[in-house]
Amino acid sequence: MNRIERVNDFVIRFANVNGSGSASANNLFARAIFRMGIPVSPKNIFPSNIQGLPTWYEVRVSEKGYLGRRGGTDMIVAVNGQTIAKDYTDVASGGYFLYDSTRSLPDECQRDDITVVGIPLTELCNDAFENPKLRQLLKNIIYVGALSYLLDIEFSVLTESIENQFKKKPKLAEPNIKALQIGLDYARVHFTDACGLSIKRRDITRDAILMDGNSACGLGAVYAGATVTGWYPITPSTSIIEAFEKYANAYRIEEETELKKVAIVQAEDELAAIGMVIGAAWNGARSFTATSGPGISLMSEFLGLAYFSEVPVVLIDVQRTGPSTGMPTRTQQSDLIACAYASHGDTRNVLLFPCDPAECFELTADAFDLAERLQTPIIVMSDLDLGMNDHMSRPLKWDDNRKYDRGKIMTGLDLENLAQKWGRYLDIDGDGICYRTIPGAHPTKGSYFTRGTSHDEYAAYTEDSAAYDKGMRRLLVKWQTARTLMPDPHIKIRYQKSKVGAIFYGTTTHAAYEAINRMQEKGVPINTMRLRSFPFPQSVLDFIDQHDVVFIIEQNRDSQMRTLLMTECGFHPDKLASILDFDGMPITADFITDKLEKGLAELAPLISTTQETTGGIV
């Protein structure tokens, strides 16, 4: 048997039962490696249930800094009886299988191409601890201890983490550290040098942080000055509001009164949630909500109202696997069409696509400026993988000189000094964006009646065809203005002459970059563009024009981004090749690499210049 021997580069998966408190142990493990300066990327694969069903925690360790899923598993820590047999078969050949040997392995487990590490977790735990509640938790800590030996994780890093985790109640730290020690000792004694996978300290992570996207979005909303949110719980978006509330409680309390400088209202449903956001935004407060697929469907009528009556709305869609209730705890990028063209009639909404926590923070903050600048809904398209998993990310930054861009607002003073007649929907700047007023701004001027029915330039109700037509065409002008305000895509030209490009966005990014690098190493340089917005800036069109074939890699069934590109930019469809993965698990580099190779073979005829081998060009 040839054991897998690798340093700082492997995939380990923990198989647990949910509700059994494994989360903290697994996080402890991932964060320890991160603190040793090595990039990690943990993925929580949990069921739509509260207690008792299988849940997995997969940790990618990659010195190279690959943060997407790779595919395959080098080591599995199996502490869930329900799935042990399947987990056993999932270990890659040459890999490692750690299990709770208090119970013996099922008979069908008969591989001789993997290293099996049996540690009597339950037994060790029960011998050492009395309290049944503690026992359940510490059993998991014990395997972390064992791993610290098997993978050479600095023990001090683990103990420090524990210590500052329990800073407030050091009493609780002790048993945890004891449990770590137990695992470590047992492994040292029984499995000396049994494992070829190991961790060596590096300082690759530098000032990076490990954070989940939802917390970053919630924090972004606090920094951007959001004061009102109406929301309704739905996985995987709930933790955005929880984070928003947590940070607001910390940084939005009025000293004198101890009252809140924020209004967080749990709505009765998503229709009410978005309605509250619209009402608050109309009334001059920065306001937002977060939801997931089913909520988007329910919000569509109101989104149409906001589009047509031009109210700034910030909405964060943490996408999950659809359609319908689908798989609420699995990821997907499948709400693009639903969001871009939400509601009946001719409508178009601006979408932003963050790919990591730093961008969740920035684009959420930017969304508020864009919403008020464009007076229209801005939808931040996150997903379950980005929102609920920890991601390594550059640190969050905020420029203290940054002023909120409230867009075109007529203050009482502006109204006072206004010469000509003001019209809410009068496009005096020619950019399709008009000036709004906030209720109460001025005693006699600037009041108007906002409506979802058709209106003229002075906000008066009209059924005049010409007036309606004019308004609808102005919204197209505004749409063109929006294109100029969108964040640029991230374009990487690996090889000037390459006629092959690849497009991706959001959480597909990380696995995609890894696959692209692999192709590069094989001498097939592919230029890449990570999209960050809809509508598409000119640079997006140029990139596509510069290539004969462009792969569009996304995590949905119906090539939704490709549809948007075709519809908005009029590209020849043959040129846009889809690579689609939509089974609910985050896409892997293996999958993309495979598809790219096959795709290139098929599309060769379309590609003008044959690819020269280009070695190390990056």
């Binding site: 009102v228 608050a280 109309w282 979802g452």
Partner: protein
Amino acid sequence: MSYTRPTFRHPEQQKNAKGYHRRDYEGAISTLCAGCGHDSISTAIVQACFEMAVEPHRVAKLSGIGCSSKTPAYFLGKSHGFNSVHGRMPSIATGANMANRDLLYIGVSGDGDTASIGMGQFAHALRRNLNMNYIVMNNGCYGLTKGQDSATADKGSAGKKGKTNPFESIDLCEIAIQLGASYVARSFSGDKQQLVPLLKAAISHNGLAFLDVISPCVTFNNTASSTKSYQYVREHSEATGTFDFIPLQREILTRYEEGTQQTITMHDGSILNLEKLDKSFDVTDRRRSVDKLEEAKENHRLLTGVIYVNPHSQDTHDIIQTTHRPLNSLTEKDLCPGSTILEKINDSLR
């Protein structure tokens, strides 16, 4: 076409405490049917706001969709308004109110807009005791879509189509009390004497003031067989009592003999004097109020007037403890924690 514009009057004597004329509270010309009850309610709102000397630009008008929901265009022309989508006025009002607690929020809805599609939002605005006036112009039908029965149409009632409604009706006032409205009253578009003071008390109330105003649809539901017709309502309504409302800063004008009188001091110090028909009835006792409505139902009477008041209830802002400053007035300084704190947060994530 009818006009809410009143006939000419001498300007001077018409100035209110804040120096506004009645016309400052008027709106555009109504496009509703001549004789529509809704127009009378618009006029009553104009009257109440004028008499209460509300500053027009400190009012936000909100509505859903329907003939009733069109009315905000026909009153308070100097106030901002939002004619939203069908049945969703309450959520718009909630958001608006959260953004700025200092304005007066007048929400107008219809019985279809509230009791059918809007039932959920209505229920939860009540439960949060949102500080607003919630007025339902109740005609028992869907006027704008040509007269279908609404959920407040009484069983056995028949409109223009002649088809009698076989379903039980929903009593919005009873629901309102149960779900947490802190001021609940019912009136009739044809009874300005009663309606205007009810509106004035609602304006001075802190919390959700719900008014169910029966407002006949002359085009589709004003038939002899309809229980929402001018005639039927006149014949069947029974007031909890006569009352008068004394805004703060005015001296009390009326006096009642003992026993049957109940005096309620509103949140803003105004006084509501109720001359009760039923001595035992206590308008601040939720349980009695609900029972009073059930009793009236048993006797096939339409109970009008003030039905329930809790003058010292907590509104949504009180409940969720938001700052006294309007949230929409806060700036970067108030809201943004800044880069230093962000650095701390970054550290905690390493």
